[in-house]
C-alpha cells in the first residue's frame, strides 16, 4: 500500500520505474526460466487428439 500511495502522490503511472516494483526483482526472469520445464510437462499430459477434444467439449449453459 505504501508504494501505491507514493505512486499516486507523485503523479500516476509515469513514475513506475522510480517506485520499487511490487514483486521482488528477478521474479520475472525466474518465472520465464521455469516455463521450459512446464512446457515439457504439458507435452506429456496434453490431450493426444486436441482437435477432437476441443470439438467434443460442448456444455449446456448453466446457472
Amino acid at each position: 500500500m505504501q508504494e501505491r500511495a507514493k505512486k499516486h502522490a507523485s503523479g500516476g503511472r509515469e513514475d513506475e520505474q522510480v517506485d520499487a516494483p511490487a514483486a521482488p526483482s528477478g521474479t520475472s526472469d525466474r518465472i520465464k526460466a521455469e516455463l521450459d520445464d512446464i512446457l515439457d510437462e504439458i507435452d506429456g499430459v496434453l490431450e493426444e487428439n486436441a482437435e477432437e477434444f476441443v470439438k467434443n467439449y460442448v456444455q449446456k449453459g448453466g446457472e
Binding site: R4, A5, A23, I31, I38, A50, Q59
Partner: protein
C-alpha cells in the same frame, strides 16, 4: 457500521463423460451420487424458502424467464455444511457459509477435493475405460457459459440501486487480477476486432447492467432476492460476474476485495467518481485487452484503465480500513489489502511477474510459450485444449497444477474441511446435525433443518447466518444423545411445527 461479510462460493463444473453415452445431466448425477452415497451426506435438500424469481428491485421483470428449480436430481447436504447437487446439466458445489474470505477459500478447495474424489469413485462403478471428467471453468468456447457465483451478506437497509451502481465498478475491473483467462472470443459483436486471448472466461456473456436472469441476457449485477436469512435484516448479494479460479490467491482476493468494497459501500465510503458510464461495454473491452491499457469512461468524465480504477479502489479501501474495526472482513482486511496492492503493483510494472498468483497471466504464459515452441497459429486447437485442460480436475491432467501457481491452503486442512463444517457460522449446526442425526433429518437447506419426531415434523429455523456456531451450539450438541433431547433442549421458541413433508 458495515455488517459482517459472511460469504460463500457456488461452482458449476463443466462435465465430460468419456466412453459413456449419457446426457450431461445423467453424467452429473452419476458424479454427485458417487460421492453422496457414502453416508457422509444427506440426500434431501429442502426447497422451501427458495425464491430465485424474487427481484431485489421490488418489481417483477416481465421479460425475465422464471428460473427453473429441478428437484428430482442428485441433491445432497454434506457433513461440512455444503450443498452438492446437479444444477441443470452441471455438478455444482456450494460451499457452506463462511465468516471470512480465507474460510470460503478453504471450502472452495474442499469442493475441488470432493469433485476429485467423486471422479475416482465414479470410475470404479463405470464400464471399463469410461470416466467422468469435471472442469472448473466457465465456458466451452462455443458460446455456452456456466457460473461460479459468490454470495455476500449485505445489510437490507442499504438501497439496492446505490449498492448496484457502486459495486459494478469493482465487478467490471477486478478481472485484471481474478480473470481466469480465455483463448479466443465468444458471442462476437459486429465490427469488433477479435483477440486471440482475453482476461476473463465470462466477460463475453454480460449484456445488461442489472437484472434477474442468470442464464440469458446475463446482468453484471444480479437482482435475485433470496436472502436465505431474515429478510428484514439481510440481503444476500448473489454475484454472477466472476470466473472460477484455479489460483487460490485469486479466489481469496476476489472474495476479500469484494467483501471490503461492499463493506465500504455500506459505510458510505465509496468514491462516487469511480462509477463507470457504460459498464456493459467496459467489461468486454477490458477483458479483450491483455495489455491493460484500454481506458473506459467514468461518470465524472475521466478515461481510466481498469488498473487505474482498481488502484483508486484499493486506496479508498485503505482509508476505509483505517476507521474499520480490527475484526472486519473476518479479521483479514489488512492482509487482503496488502496482497491486493502488491498484485496491482505487479500488474502495473510487468504482468508476467504475477504469474504465480493471477490465472489469466499463468494461462497466457502456457498458451504463448506452447505456441512459440511448436510454431502454432493463434487458432490452433492445441491452444484451446491448453485453455480447457488448465481447468481439468484430474490431478494427473490439470495444467493449472503445473503452471507454478502459489498455494495458500494446506491440503490436510482441506481434507478435514471435506468432512467438517466451519465453526463460525450456522453451517456448523447444519453439518453437525447431518453427521450426528442423518436418520432423523427429513430435509435441510440454508436456513433450516426439518427433523422427524414421534409427534410429527419439526423445523429448526436458522435465520441468522452467524448463529448456530460451535460457540453457541457446540456444548448443546455434545450434551444430547438424540434428536428428541436436542429439540427439548432448544425449546418451543426455537422450533416450529411443519404440517407435512413437501414430498421432495
Amino acid at each position: 457500521m458495515a455488517i459482517p461479510k459472511v460469504c460463500g462460493i457456488e461452482t458449476e463444473y463443466g462435465i465430460v463423460a468419456r466412453g459413456l453415452d449419457v446426457t450431461p445431466t445423467v453424467a452429473s448425477s452419476l458424479l454427485v451420487n458417487a460421492f453422496s452415497d457414502d453416508g457422509l451426506s444427506l440426500r434431501v435438500w429442502d426447497f422451501v424458502g427458495e425464491t430465485p424469481h424474487v427481484d431485489a428491485r421490488g418489481e417483477w421483470d416481465a421479460r425475465s424467464e422464471y428460473p427453473h428449480v429441478e428437484s428430482l436430481m442428485a441433491n445432497a447436504v454434506l457433513t461440512n455444511g455444503a450443498r452438492y447437487y446437479v444444477d441443470h446439466a452441471h455438478p455444482e458445489v456450494s460451499t457452506p457459509e463462511c465468516a471470512s474470505p480465507s474460510g470460503a477459500l478453504l471450502y472452495d478447495r474442499a469442493g475441488e477435493l470432493i469433485i476429485e474424489e467423486s471422479m475416482r469413485r465414479a470410475a470404479t462403478r463405470l464400464p471399463e475405460g469410461a470416466e467422468l471428467v469435471a472442469y472448473k471453468n466457465n465456458s466451452d468456447g462455443k458460446g455456452n457459459s456456466y457460473g461460479c457465483h459468490e454470495n455476500y451478506l449485505v445489510a437490507r437497509d442499504l438501497p439496492f440501486g446505490l449498492l448496484s451502481r457502486r459495486i459494478t465498478a469493482h465487478f467490471v475491473t477486478r478481472q485484471v487480477f481474478c480473470g481466469a483467462g480465455k483463448v479466443g472470443v465468444e458471442q462476437p459483436r459486429d465490427g469488433e476486432p477479435g483477440v486471440p486471448f482475453q482476461l476473463s472466461q465470462r466477460a463475453d456473456f454480460f449484456e445488461e447492467e442489472v437484472g434477474l436472469e442468470t442464464t440469458i441476457r446475463r446482468p453484471i449485477v444480479n437482482t435475485r432476492d433470496e436472502p436465505h436469512a431474515d429478510p428484514l435484516r439481510f440481503r444476500r448479494l448473489h454475484v454472477i460476474a466472476g470466473d472460477a479460479n484455479m489460483s487460490q490467491t485469486a479466489t481469496w482476493l476476489k472474495l476479500g476485495t469484494t467483501a471490503m468494497v461492499l463493506s465500504m459501500i455500506e459505510d458510505g465510503g465509496f468514491p462516487e467518481s469511480l462509477v463507470i458510464s457504460d459498464p456493459v461495454s467496459a467489461v468486454r473491452q477490458i477483458s479483450h485487452d491483455r495489455t491493460l491499457r484500454r481506458t473506459v469512461r467514468t461518470a465524472d468524465g475521466r478515461d481510466l484503465t481498469a488498473l487505474d480504477i482498481q488502484h483508486e479502489l484499493c486506496d479508498a479501501v485503505d482509508r476505509w480500513l483505517d476507521a474499520a474495526p480490527d475484526d472486519t472482513v473476518g479479521g483479514e482486511g489488512r492482509a487482503i489489502h496488502a496482497e491486493w496492492s502488491r498484485i496491482l503493483g505487479g500488474l502495473s510494472d510487468d504482468p508476467v511477474s504475477v504469474a504465480p498468483w493471477v490465472d489469466w497471466v499463468a494461462k497466457h504464459r502456457l498458451v504463448e510459450g506452447y505456441a512459440a515452441r511448436h510454431s502454432l497459429a493463434a487458432h490452433d486447437p492445441r491452444l484451446r485444449a491448453i485453455d480447457l485442460q488448465y481447468h481439468d480436475m484430474r490431478p494427473g491432467r490439470c495444467l493449472a497444477r503445473r503452471a507454478g501457481l502459489a498455494t495458500l491452503v494446506d491440503d490436510r486442512d482441506a481434507m478435514l474441511a471435506v468432512e467438517r463444517p466451519p465453526e463460525d457460522t450456522r453451517a456448523y449446526f447444519r453439518g453437525e446435525c447431518v453427521r450426528r442425526f442423518p436418520d432423523r433429518i427429513v430435509s435441510a437447506n440454508w436456513d433450516g433443518i426439518v427433523f422427524e419426531t414421534p409427534d410429527g415434523l419439526v423445523r429448526v429455523p436458522m435465520m441468522d447466518p452467524l448463529k448456530g456456531t460451535r460457540e453457541l451450539t457446540g456444548d448443546l450438541l455434545s450434551s444430547v444423545s438424540d434428536v428428541d433431547q436436542l429439540l427439548d433442549a432448544l425449546g418451543g421458541g426455537s422450533t416450529e411445527r411443519v404440517d407435512s413433508d413437501p414430498g421432495w
